[in-house]
Assembly symmetry: C2
DNA sequence: CCATGCAGTTAACAACTGTTCTCCGAGTTT
DNA sequence: AAACTCGGAGAACAGTTGTTAACTGCATGG
């Protein structure tokens, strides 16, 4: 049951969200370390000082944006893992690959600003935000690893190697999402990126299948 | 023969380089889109207006930095390609892999600021700089592809697939370099990153060797 | 040796920044 | 119904920013 929180608290949450939304939009064409507090409040239509009622500074707002962005991606990722996990071993992975890339593409289409923000600030100029993104992505990798461990193909694999594999998938997902973003508005370019992503996943899958071969 | 360029032109080049160096240093803790022109000239000890004698704006300086950074990396990369290309097929690739990762690590140790700049601005907030980095990396991928095409393992491969493979290697190189940078000062963490990078290269190499297998 | 070119300086500008302190007024609690 | 809480407004602050114009002095080419 969701508490019907009072008029006051609801209004506070609403302007807080407005600040986040405005910041995300403004970050389409600059990076967090150059985004000013006044710039954000002006876009929302609120006094500069109101900012402090919600965030200590822009780095703080940045961390909140990370949670918002990667929270929604986490939902999508969990759905993907359970959906493709069910048909593990059913085919050579070709359908799983297509489904994975399509899910990434769909996410980029519905959350372009979030994707851009994560890609941009993953190595960006604000320490706290970098740390937040890195932590969340490491968590994702951990979940992917645990899903892999549940599948029969993982028999005989070392924990370390499973995590390495999961990390490759997560990194690849972020890179593909970013590349798809750059191809926005150009369906041909987007399909080219998707095709490359699928072939890369195929290559990694091949390596995975032969990982335990003798040499 | 290097023209001993006049006193005047030499001095101009010197302050230009000083501006680039100062900017690169300041970019260790912020991103390009938040770096101010006055900040850079102040660090060099020169009047703000002197900046315009060398660059139109900060984006222009950024593009110059891309050329400086990726120029030096291009030298290192070419050395690696010819060095490992010679012993293609001699072993199972294990030595090539170790040599590749060691070269990346050495480059990160000698050019940390350049690596950080490229990683940060690859998806950063300045369009022109992103384009410059993307272009240079695509060029790298092209060169790697051509090296691969020269090796016997490439027989039967489609051009597209070779470029896809080369792209994976280039992307992986940038990610590894960036990860090594974050592990700076912690030899244990650095070795962990290097180990992961080697295993990832091994995995991709396995996929490569089985790419043309029937299914 | 003199006139020209040009890297760098000085001064000034309007615009903008983050942050403080003070105040208001409406939702909440008692 | 009175007292209190607290999100937001307003004004002011000392600094900062990019860009302009007009200058100075020295290396250069005729």
């Amino acid at each position: 049951m969701s508490h019907t929180l009072g008029v006051r608290q609801a209004q506070k949450r609403r302007t807080r969200q407005a600040l986040l939304d405005a910041a995300l939009q403004l970050l389409a064409e600059q990076s967090l370390s150059s985004l000013g507090l006044r710039e954000v409040t002006r876009a929302v239509g609120v006094a500069p000082t109101a900012f402090y009622r919600h965030f200590r500074d822009m780095a703080d707002l940045g961390v909140a944006l990370v949670e918002e962005a990667l929270g929604s991606l986490h939902t999508a990722l969990t759905a993907l893992l359970s959906a493709t996990g069910e048909r593990a071993g059913e085919d050579d992975g070709e359908e799983r690959i297509a489904a994975t890339v399509e899910l990434i593409a769909a996410y980029v289409r519905t959350h372009p600003a979030h994707v851009r923000f994560i890609a941009r600030e993953q190595h960006g100029g604000v320490q706290a935000v970098r740390a937040a993104i890195g932590g969340q992505l490491a968590l994702f990798a951990q979940e992917v690893k645990e899903q892999f461990a549940r599948e029969p193909e993982a028999a005989g694999w070392a924990e370390d190697d499973l995590l390495m594999l999961a990390g490759m998938y997560v990194d690849h997902m972020v890179m593909t999402a970013s590349a798809l973003l750059e191809a926005e508005g150009d369906p041909e370019a987007a399909e080219r990126v998707a095709s490359t992503a699928r072939r890369q996943l195929r290559l990694v899958g091949l390596g995975r299948r032969h990982w335990l071969d003798e040499h």
